[in-house]
């Protein structure tokens, strides 16, 4: 089953439009490194310049320069230096990323108001990675990641309601309220979570790729982990097996520069994560640019499909919030650093600029889209706070799968109101 993104990528991205304008957004000096103020004032000027111009048809495309990739044991010349995107694609990327940003912001609020407990790891700033991946591959390909996984659940086809009500522990959650923030899954779209132990998903992801090879398909697996997890031994064990058996897997390091409170400089002897596959090919991608992620992942996926073996992908990204809710995110980095990333490299602002500069949208029209997405997320928040709790008997549900001899009995007791221990099951 193709994801919506994959359909667009397949049909629109690499063909020249009827009226191409080779407008190089990324190539314009200084544009992609504007400060927040320059962005806003430039947008306002653009608004004044064309008050009533009809919007450009969405199927029309532009060509954009891509930020430089870096490769390890792989020919850099094979990667594209520019790519084409249609207004429809950019709009889709914008809506997905904005929806993710709103959902995460609301998850933060739900936590502060006591509706979400335990751990909650937010993705604000990293949205281009989740969206770019889905623009490059399909739901036939496997995806697995760690605990910063709310947005992957959306990207793999679930609803904001299912994610948020899992965070609030309701029976309507995607895991029935039994998993929580770190355990979201969408197996029918080949998304395998949602894993709480740092690095343990590396071998699981290797198993997904093993299954693809075992079954003789051309599917690939993307096994995501952070810069902190990159120092786990099991990642190297998994890389060894993947290279040995030429498994179709991308080991994808989301380098957001901090493993909780420890910067990569203080945890990793080598901060060039894309080279740490050593004998395995590596690829470095600017993870704040959704088109770069799309093109880089598409390239690496093709290489994997060809049977050449794994690719260690590093996406350079950034999280605006702390490691989790309990972490302010300021003890180990400056607020200047956070603010300047937001101002100069925000993934959503980048796509907004492309949409407005390309004539497919205005600030006003985008505000309208944002408003309706906010309403959608607000409705999901209401749903998540009002949905029913799982019934008590779900305590013992799904510990084991049914077997030939019937439903397996799990021993348990439910203390009744009188304080008497109930009959052991």
């Amino acid at each position: 089953m193709l994801s919506a993104f994959a359909r667009h990528a397949a049909t629109g991205a690499r063909q020249a439009a009827a009226t191409p304008r080779a407008m190089s957004v990324a190539g314009t000096p200084g544009l992609m490194s504007v400060t927040g103020m320059r962005f806003k004032s430039r947008m306002a000027a653009a608004e004044e310049a064309k008050p009533d111009t009809p919007l450009r048809p969405l199927e029309e495309t532009e060509t954009y320069d891509l930020p430089a990739f870096k490769t390890h044991r792989m020919d850099l010349g094979g990667l594209p230096t520019s790519t084409t995107a249609s207004g429809a694609q950019l709009q889709e990327y914008f809506e997905s990323m904005y929806r993710m940003r709103r959902m995460e912001t609301k998850a933060d609020e739900l936590y502060m108001t006591g509706h979400v407990r335990g751990f909650c790891h937010l993705y604000n700033g990293q949205e281009a990675v989740a969206v770019g991946v889905e623009a490059a591959v399909s739901y036939e390909d496997y995806l697995i990641t760690a605990y910063r996984n709310h947005c992957q659940q959306l990207a793999r086809g679930d609803t904001v309601e299912a994610v948020l009500s899992e965070l609030t522990g309701r029976v309507t959650g995607c895991s029935g309220g039994k998993g929580g923030s770190m355990h979201l899954y969408k197996p029918e779209n080949r998304y395998f979570g949602g894993n709480g132990i740092v690095g343990a998903q590396g071998p699981l992801g290797t198993g997904l790729a093993f299954a693809a090879k075992y079954q003789g398909t051309k599917n690939v697996a993307i096994s995501m982990f952070g810069d902190g997890a990159a120092n786990q031994g099991q990642i190297f064990e998994a890389l060894n097996m993947a290279q040995l058996w030429r498994l179709p897997i991308m080991f994808m390091c989301e380098n957001n520069r901090y493993g909780m409170g420890t910067s990569t400089a203080r945890a990793a002897a080598s901060g060039d994560f894309y080279t740490r596959g050593d004998y395995a090919a590596g690829l470095y991608i600017d993870g704040m640019n959704v088109l770069a992620v799309r093109e880089g992942i598409a390239y690496a996926a093709e290489r994997c499909r060809s049977g050449e073996g794994p690719v260690y992908v590093e996406v350079d990204t950034y999280r605006y919030k702390g490691h989790s809710i309990s972490d302010q995110g300021t003890g180990y980095r400056t607020t200047d650093e956070v603010q300047s990333m937001k101002a100069s490299r925000d993934p959503i602002d980048q796509v907004k600029t492309m949409l407005v500069d390309g004539g497919w949208a205005t600030l006003q029209s985008l505000k309208g889209v944002e408003r309706s997405l906010r309403k959608e997320v607000d409705a999901a928040v209401k749903f998540a706070t009002e949905a029913p709790q799982p019934p008590p008997e779900h305590l013992w549900k799904d510990v084991l799968s049914p077997s030939a001899s019937g439903e397996s009995v799990v021993r348990g007791t439910l203390v009744t109101k009188g304080g008497k221990v109930g009959t052991p099951l």
Binding site: L204, V399, S405
Partner: protein, 331 residues
């Protein structure tokens, strides 16, 4: 019927299930070209190829995790721990992934996985190669645990384990691979959750498993000769414990002796006694006694090693004490 070694019975079970179901595969160290360090997978790779009988690097944590990843897509991997002790390196994968993925996903995953291999005290293999992990794993939710003890039950249990849709930790014993027994040539399966009645009796219930079953059997001639009539149950299923079969026996005999190879502290016997206390307290004429291995790393020296595990003469003494006197002597 044909006479087979235990390792052959296990191999036949694996072979038959791999032939029957293409998703069944074997993953482990030296399982393929080397033929398996205990010959359980001998020659299977020439029949099924290098992918279905996969020789792994020495990386227990990650190849166990890889097998779990395969299982959640629909493969049915059999992970071999060359020695079960080595799988302590994979404890996180076994507990937090195999044990938990079905539950944390709200039932979205089925995890058909077998983790098998030899454990137990051998012949002077040294402490690190003489471990008993069954008690360590017994607490983990989401797992099934069985211990085979004869060629007959080994074959039937392994087939059931492979067909079960849950992670099954399947304990074999280093010293039992060369046991020989006549087994049926027709296909048979043995349920994973039922204890095996080794001998029917009247005056005491002996609960045991794996190699200790055979030490109990060795104690029987003296006991029978001296007029005792023990009922012997091989637990087979260590998780869940077959409390139903145990209850039927205890209601008849009113005395229980546990003979186990795991350490006494927090061993299988500890859980058994707790459950017997909960369900069968009024049926007991004496406290439950457990004969367990010493709470020590296994020494290399041969006589010391023998003293680490329970020997038949200790079983004989314990049975007699339990039945005769009100002064219960425990080791």
């Amino acid at each position: 019927m044909s006479k087979v070694f235990m390792f052959d019975a296990l191999r036949a079970a694996t072979d038959e299930e791999m032939e029957r179901d293409l998703t069944v595969c074997v993953i482990g160290e030296d399982v393929g070209h080397y033929g398996g360090s205990y010959k359980v997978t001998k020659d299977l790779h020439s029949k099924y190829g290098d992918l279905r009988v996969l020789d792994t690097p020495i990386a227990e944590n990650s190849f166990t995790g890889m097998a779990i990843g395969g299982a959640i897509t629909g493969l049915r991997p059999i992970v071999e721990g060359m020695n079960m002790s080595f799988l302590l390196l994979a404890f996180n994968q076994i507990s937090n992934n195999a044990g938990m993925l079905r539950y944390t996903s709200g039932g979205n995953f089925t995890l058909p996985l077998v983790i098998r291999g030899p454990g137990g005290v051998g012949r002077q293999l040294g402490a690190e190669h003489s471990q008993r992990l069954e008690a360590y794993f017994q607490a983990i939710p989401g797992l099934k645990i069985v211990a085979c003890s004869t060629p007959y039950n080994a074959k039937g249990l392994l087939k059931s384990a492979i067909r079960d849709n849950n992670p099954v930790v399947f304990f074999e014993h280093v010293l039992l691979y060369n046991l020989q027994e006549e087994i049926p040539q027709e296909e048979y399966l043995i349920p994973l959750d039922k204890a095996e009645i080794v001998r029917k009796g009247e005056d005491i219930t002996i609960l045991t498993y794996s190699r200790m079953r055979h030490h109990v059997i060795q104690a029987l001639p003296v006991l029978l000769n001296d007029g005792y009539n023990p009922e012997v149950l091989d637990l087979i299923s260590l998780k869940p414990l077959d409390i139903e079969s145990i209850s039927i026996s205890v209601k008849k005999t009113h005395r229980v002796l546990i003979v186990e190879e795991c350490m006494k502290t927090a061993g299988i016997g500890a859980e058994l006694i707790a459950q017997i206390n909960e369900h069968l307290f009024d049926e007991l004429d004496a406290p439950v006694v457990r004969l367990s291995s010493q709470d020590i790393p296994t020494p290399y020296n041969g006589s010391l090693e023998q003293a680490t595990v329970i020997q038949p003469h200790q079983i004989i003494d314990a049975v007699k004490n339990l039945i005769n006197s009100s002064n219960i002597v425990t080791t």
